[in-house]
């Protein structure tokens, strides 16, 4: 079995079979990372550059760990403190790194489409680790994988994505991924943070959090991306929390037990309170563990197509 793509630029390019293949491979890697010795030699002849032009903790660490568990050689690059501030273009920077004989590039960039641009100009396998407000494919894969782990399958499940949909690459990738796997998707948030194009995605829209939570099996709570908000989209964080924050009281008032997810980083007390984040219904730390397994699967399957 082979993936139908050479790069992982977005979930949009993947077929449901590709996603299924990534999941079954991730099952194997999940077993590997729970062994006494958590390393396999598959990518020992592969060099991977992690290029992070934007801040990241989880994704960067998770990719780096996945690469090391597969025995790849790893190069890390952060834009701060590099020649990017001296005026070098993206393609020049990457070509210089590739001249050092790198096989794969994992890139996070603040501009939407940066990974696609790169894939057209350079000869290496590209994995998009988040490009602006466009896509974050590995996050969506690990979210769907976590739902599959919890419920056995994703098909038919109802998932609501709550919060800053407008600025969220996680939301867009999640919508594509969940729909490809046959889940029903709803978004919930203040009108100003729901993008206009949402109608074209066949997604339900709800502005009342309680109603949305009553409908769903899984709630994916997103962070308010203040760093991407050039204007004010709502009067105050306190008001946002009152209307769209998830606390224990609201969670306990629902007629059924739902699963709470969060892609991180959490702003405790804003979109989700501490007692919810740390509750039994939350799978936030499972998501992080699954992230390593899913990224190992993506790297392994894409590396098989090199050369």
């Amino acid at each position: 079995m082979n993936l139908s793509v050479k790069h992982l630029l977005g979930i949009k390019d993947l077929s449901p079979q590709d996603i299924e293949l990534i999941f079954t491979t991730a099952d194997n890697f999940k077993e590997v990372i729970n062994r006494p010795i958590k390393k396999v030699p598959s990518l020992r002849d592969t060099t991977i550059a992690n290029l992070f032009f934007e801040n990241s903790t989880r994704t960067k660490l998770s990719f780096e760990l996945a690469e090391k568990r597969l025995s790849a050689d790893v190069l890390n690059f952060s834009a701060s403190g590099s020649s990017v501030s001296k005026g070098e273009t993206l393609i020049d920077t990457v070509n210089n790194i590739l001249a050092m004989k790198v096989d794969m590039v994992v890139m996070r960039h603040p501009n939407p489409g940066a990974a696609i641009l790169l894939s057209k100009h350079i000869d290496a396998t590209i994995i998009n680790a988040g490009d602006g407000a466009h896509e974050h494919p590995t996050q969506a894969l690990l979210d769907a994988y976590s739902i599959r782990q919890k419920y056995g399958e994703v098909k038919g499940k109802k998932v609501v994505i709550v919060g800053d949909i407008l600025h969220s690459r996680v939301a867009l990738s999640n919508i594509f991924c969940l729909q490809k796997l046959g889940a029903k998707v709803m978004v919930c948030g203040p009108t100003t943070l729901i993008p206009k194009y949402i109608n074209s995605l066949n997604v339900k829209v709800e502005h009342n959090l309680k109603k949305a939570l009553e409908w769903c099996d899984v709630a994916n709570m997103l962070r308010i991306q203040l760093e991407r908000q050039d204007i004010k989209y709502f009067p105050s964080l306190r008001e946002y929390t009152m209307l769209y924050g998830l606390d224990k009281k609201l969670l306990d008032s629902l007629s059924k037990e739902i699963t709470v997810m969060h892609p991180g980083p959490i702003n405790r007390g804003v979109e989700i309170t501490s007692d919810v984040a740390d509750s039994k219904q939350s799978v936030i730390l499972e998501q992080v563990e699954n992230g390593v397994a899913v990224r190992m699967a993506v790297l392994y399957l894409l590396a098989a197509n090199i050369g």
Partner: protein, 181 residues
């Protein structure tokens, strides 16, 4: 394509029984031994050996695991498409144990090499032995030889050895297939 049977139902049974008794000669009651089948086809032989041994010894506590070697193979990226991995199930550590690696057919020895590597994730065994149902002699790429052999056959590379199992193919049999004719 023509094929001939190299182990029929009856000789298959006798062979398995003989292998079990050979194991008992060296491992006594198996207190410090573990049987590890290599995925995907070796586990059927390992299971059979395990259940026969349990019957003979009247003991159901023999250590038994399935090991997948896909991620340890040396032909990653040298194949048309990547191999799909199978499940590894090892509920024990092999530190200081006598391990019996089990596979159905020994051919180039590369799977066994990968198996030796993969196994080390579960500890440092005291000793490792190799048990195979069919040894295809004169086809080795690596210096690997079995300690227990069901049957040795001389084959050429255009031939294929296939082990059929009651559990999956409704009969116990080993056939030699020549794909050229």
């Amino acid at each position: 394509m023509n094929q001939r049977v190299i182990l029929n139902q009856q000789s298959f049974e006798i062979t398995i029984a003989r292998l079990c008794h050979q194991l008992i000669e060296n491992h006594n009651d198996f207190t410090n031994s573990a049987i590890i089948g290599l995925q995907p086809r070796g586990i059927l032989l390992a299971k059979r050996i395990h259940s026969e041994l349990s019957k003979i010894l009247g003991n159901n506590t023999l250590l038994f695991g399935n090991l997948d070697v896909t991620f340890f193979r040396d032909d990653f990226r040298r194949r048309e498409t990547p191999l799909v991995a199978n499940a590894t199930k090892m509920d024990f550590i092999i530190e200081n144990k006598n391990v019996i690696l089990v596979d159905d057919v020994l051919y180039t020895g590369r799977t066994i090499r990968a198996g030796l590597d993969a196994m080390l994730a579960y500890g440092r065994p005291k000793k490792v032995e190799l048990l195979v149902l069919i040894d295809r002699r004169y086809n080795r790429d690596l210096p690997i030889q079995p300690d227990y052999t069901g049957k040795s056959v001389d084959t050429i590379s255009s031939e294929k050895v296939k082990v059929l199992w009651k559990e999956t193919e409704n009969k116990d049999e080993v056939i030699l297939i020549n794909e050229k004719n």
